[in-house]
């Protein structure tokens, strides 16, 4: 228990020294790390749900202390206009019964599901609340006369989870339909294959021991009966897509598949009807089943990736507070028109492009421009829609909405980049084209030769050739490897959202990195304190933290993060773009820009040259200047290692940023990136990348902001950071959910391993076919040999692909190797 006492019982985070948050759970006092966790644990215990702590297998997430205002904001979800997008009412229910889908954040184990279901179902008015553990989605049905949606959301927040209503939309419906159809086809094929196999074993045995001919005919007819639904129902996707390929004059993977299934089935039917030749029903059904199973797994991985990507998006309906003659109203952003005046609170984003008409504040444009520090905006300054108001309330007159906004322009750029994206044909597709062509020509040639010599045998030999050179292994080679690799990458926190991403990443030669939010955390951190007065470092920090406590400014967050026992500041006043003034323990202080702070003392600040990438914040009381804090956007701790690994893998790193020259140069120097450009707008980045691509480079792009989205879309393969914007993630092929940069080289290694496995698989499939083909052409292959050969070759391909799951989950660089790099 000693170890437990140092960590929060609820979330497992260390308990700060002198913490006094405790909750009695199961008769024992447990330490909590913060009031948030305490409140959540208390709510769980009070609700009689203590069993949660007994059953959970992972620590809960740290409870966020939702401020009352945020909880109040949830009532937006009760408004009918807002609910229109995500609330449904089933016709067979009463009018006041409503349904909605929720994304639940914070589900870490099955006990969380139990806790949520028990807690919410106990609320009066909730008719049904079901949580899907696999997708972290919940479905809620409630009686609107007894309870409102906002109350349900608040109840979920009380036990430490965050729920966002969302519109499951058509994508989700399509996925569900696709999945259930695939399952049905798979079931029919699987059960059919088993039955036909059973009969086939009897038929093979009959070949050796002799069998009554009426029994043989009977068995063949039964096989025909069972195989028919497998061919006509389960295998239909192969026929339709083969037909589509043929219409486009291409030889895709589905053409030989359809040819083999269709040919073998028709020949077997013919054999059954005429009581001659051989039947291949077992091969047909098993072949179909194997292929469908491979595709089903592939589809599952694709859906999961899509869902996780969707989950990143906080699907708050975009709302704005519009000012009218009578007061304020909350409206959807889409309803805004030029000329409207809106109020933007600190922490909210600006709904559309406009001008400030009242108030002054700092606006964070980092996601749009890559600028790492908020810029000050006052009356008559322009603000861009999508940027975040940081300091104090602003009233904005809207100038442009919808298609005319800067954001929309970037989106147009994004679409153009997407359509111009250079695409690489998959390895398997190219090989399949040749393979199919060669097989068909050979089959024709061999058929012609036998026709000349033994016309009666020609048809059966050509058929056995087509069946034995079954492209099963060939067509499973790529999907099996991709599915295995995608699975292990997802466990690592790297989502693959597009199929081609891994193959392309494996061949990338250049990697373009964004600075703010990608290589850096996007948050300021305290670098250095220079003391100039009589107080020591700790005291200065405590005062600074006290003054900045209520502020949303990145500087404030960095400073208040440094101190745990913050004293209370009174009479705090903010001067946007300048700083803050307030009293701590009876003494007046100012913190902020040098000139503003110096005013309080009445002496000019001795300004020293500072590095361009750093932000300086001064602190003074009425007597003297106390200290200067230097802050900078800090590099992610593992950026240097990640870059080192990427270079070792032979990739050339480049740094493209919208931030100032000095800030970009400092980061580039620290990471040893030789090629960097600063102050780049999205179109500059795109142009620079096109220039690279024109020079033959295969470019991978890593970014997070809206300004990166067009480049992400235009790069041959792209990765977005998990904490980045929705637009960036939507335009990227992969998403780095973990935000852990060393996963980049790991992803590259995994991609290369995947490509290697795909090559091995293809090589094996080709070798198998080279051996089997001459045997079949000479007429030595009986149907049972074809069946065994086919199964064995498919199995080998799948097992080989599964190696990706185990082998490549080791660290990217062995620790010993890293140590030697560090010393060098």
């Amino acid at each position: 228990m000693a170890a437990d006492s140092a960590n929060c019982f609820h979330c497992g985070q260390p308990v700060p020294a002198g913490g006094h948050y405790r909750v009695e759970i199961d008769g024992q006092d447990r330490d909590m790390c913060c009031p948030g966790c305490q409140a959540v644990a208390q709510a769980i215990v009070d609700g009689g749900l203590t069993d949660y702590y007994r059953h959970r297998t992972a620590s809960s997430i740290t409870a966020q202390n939702l401020v009352p205002e945020e909880l109040q904001n949830l009532t937006i979800y009760d408004q009918p206009e807002v609910q229109r997008s995500f609330v449904t009412n089933e016709p067979r229910d009463a009018a006041e019964v409503k349904q909605a889908s929720l994304i639940l954040e914070g589900i870490v184990c099955a006990a969380c599901v139990w806790l949520n279901e028990r807690h919410v179902n106990a609320l009066p008015g909730v008719i049904e609340f079901r949580v899907n553990y696999a997708t972290h989605r919940a479905h809620v049905k409630w009686d609107d006369t007894l309870i409102h949606l906002s109350e349900i959301l608040r109840a979920i927040a009380a036990i430490g989870y965050i729920a966002h209503p969302f519109d499951p939309g058509r994508q989700e419906q399509l996925h569900k339909k696709e999945k259930s159809q695939a399952l049905r086809r798979l079931a029919v094929a699987g059960l059919g294959a088993m039955q036909v196999m059973m009969l086939a074993v009897a038929l093979y045995a009959g070949e050796y021991q002799g069998m009554e001919s009426r029994m043989q005919t009977f068995f063949r007819w039964v096989s025909l009966l069972i195989a028919s639904p497998v061919v006509f129902y389960s295998a239909r996707p192969f026929f339709t897509s083969a037909w589509r390929d043929l219409k486009r004059m291409q030889l895709g993977m589905d053409v030989p598949v359809a040819l083999a299934i269709g040919g073998a089935y028709l020949a077997s039917v013919w054999a059954t009807l005429t009581r001659s030749g051989e039947v291949y029903f077992d091969s047909v059904t098993m072949f179909t089943f194997f292929l469908l199973a491979g595709r089903f797994l592939e589809m599952g991985a694709r859906h999961r990736a899509g869902q996780a990507a969707e989950e990143l998006v906080k699907l708050l309906p975009a709302m704005a507070t519009r000012l009218t003659e009578t007061g304020e109203e909350v409206v959807a952003v889409a309803e805004l028109a030029p000329g409207d005046r809106v109020r933007v609170k600190p922490g909210d984003s600006v709904p559309a492009d406009g001008r400030v008409i009242e108030g002054s504040s700092s606006v964070d444009e980092s996601l749009l421009t890559g600028e790492s520090l908020p810029l000050s905006r006052s009356i008559n300054d322009e603000v861009i829609g999508g940027t975040v108001n940081v300091e104090s309330p602003l009233i904005i007159q809207i100038d442009r909405v919808g298609e005319d906004t800067v954001l929309a322009a970037i989106q147009r750029l994004l679409h153009r980049a997407q359509t111009e994206k250079p695409r690489l044909a998959g390895l398997a597709d190219r090989i399949a084209g040749y393979f199919v062509g060669v097989i068909l020509l050979l089959a024709l040639g061999v058929g012609w030769w036998w026709w000349q010599h033994q016309p009666g045998e020609a048809f059966w030999i050509v058929l056995s050739m087509l069946v034995v050179t079954c492209p099963c292994a060939l067509s499973l080679a790529t999907p099996a490897a991709l599915t295995a690799a995608t699975g292990s990458l997802t466990r690592l926190g790297v989502l693959t959202t597009r199929g081609h991403a891994l193959e392309t990443l494996a061949r990338a030669s250049h990697i373009i990195l964004d600075k703010t939010g990608t290589l850096t955390t996007g948050r300021l951190q305290l670098r250095d304190i220079r003391l100039r007065g009589s107080l020591d470092e700790g005291a200065c920090l405590r005062i600074a933290a006290a003054l900045e406590q209520a502020s949303e400014h990145p500087v404030a967050r960095a400073l208040s993060h440094e101190v745990t026992d913050t004293p209370l500041a009174r009479e705090v006043e903010a001067v946007p773009g300048q700083g803050l003034e307030g009293a701590v323990e009876g003494v007046r202080y100012r913190i902020g820009q040098a000139a503003y702070v110096a005013e309080l003392v009445g002496q000019a600040a001795a300004h020293e040259g500072s590095e361009g990438s750093q932000t300086e914040v001064w602190l003074a009381n009425e007597q003297e200047i106390l200290a200067t804090f230097s802050l900078s956007d800090s590099l992610r701790p593992d950026a240097a290692d990640a870059l080192e690994d990427l270079r070792r893998l032979g990739l050339t790193p480049l740094l493209f940023s919208g931030d100032s020259e000095a800030a970009v140069a400092a980061v580039a120097r620290e990471l040893g990136i030789e090629d960097f450009s600063a102050r780049m707008r999205p179109e500059d980045k795109l142009a620079a990348m096109h220039a690279l691509q024109a020079g033959g480079a295969l470019v991978a792009m890593v970014g997070d902001g809206v300004n990166d989205a067009p480049v992400l879309a235009g790069a041959q393969v792209s990765l977005a950071m998990g904490g980045g914007t929705q637009l960036a993630q939507a335009s990227a092929d992969m998403v780095l959910l973990s935000e852990h940069l060393p996963h980049l080289p790991r992803a590259v290694e995994m991609a290369r391993a995947t490509l290697r496995i795909i090559r091995e698989n293809l090589a094996w499939a080709v070798v198998y076919n080279l051996v089997a083909l001459p045997l079949a052409a000479m007429g030595y292959v009986a149907p049972w040999m074809a069946a065994i050969g086919m199964s064995a070759s498919s199995l080998i391909v799948v097992l080989n692909a599964l190696r990706l799951n185990k082998k490549y989950t080791r660290p990217a660089v062995a620790p010993a190797h890293r140590a030697s790099l560090d010393m060098a």
Binding site: G47, G48, A110, Y133, A134, Q195, M215, V222
Partner: protein
């Protein structure tokens, strides 16, 4: 061996039943969440044998509880 003429059609009937049962399971959403139910069954909603625990909340009381 003539019995096979009866047994195999019988087997096919079973095959039909198996396929129907599976399709029904797919349709009724039993394959939507493949992980949750395995955990859910382990969590007792109403276990009066755990010392110090009394049924709380409306979901604890199932009609047949003694």
């Amino acid at each position: 061996m003539s019995i096979l003429f009866l047994l195999i059609p019988l087997g096919m009937i079973f095959l039909g039943v198996a396929i129907w049962a599976f399709l029904w399971a797919v349709r009724s959403g039993q394959f939507d969440d493949m992980e949750g139910p395995a955990h859910r069954i382990l969590m007792d909603d109403d276990d009066p044998r755990i010392p110090g625990r009394e049924p709380t909340g409306k979901n604890d009381e199932s009609p047949g509880d003694a």
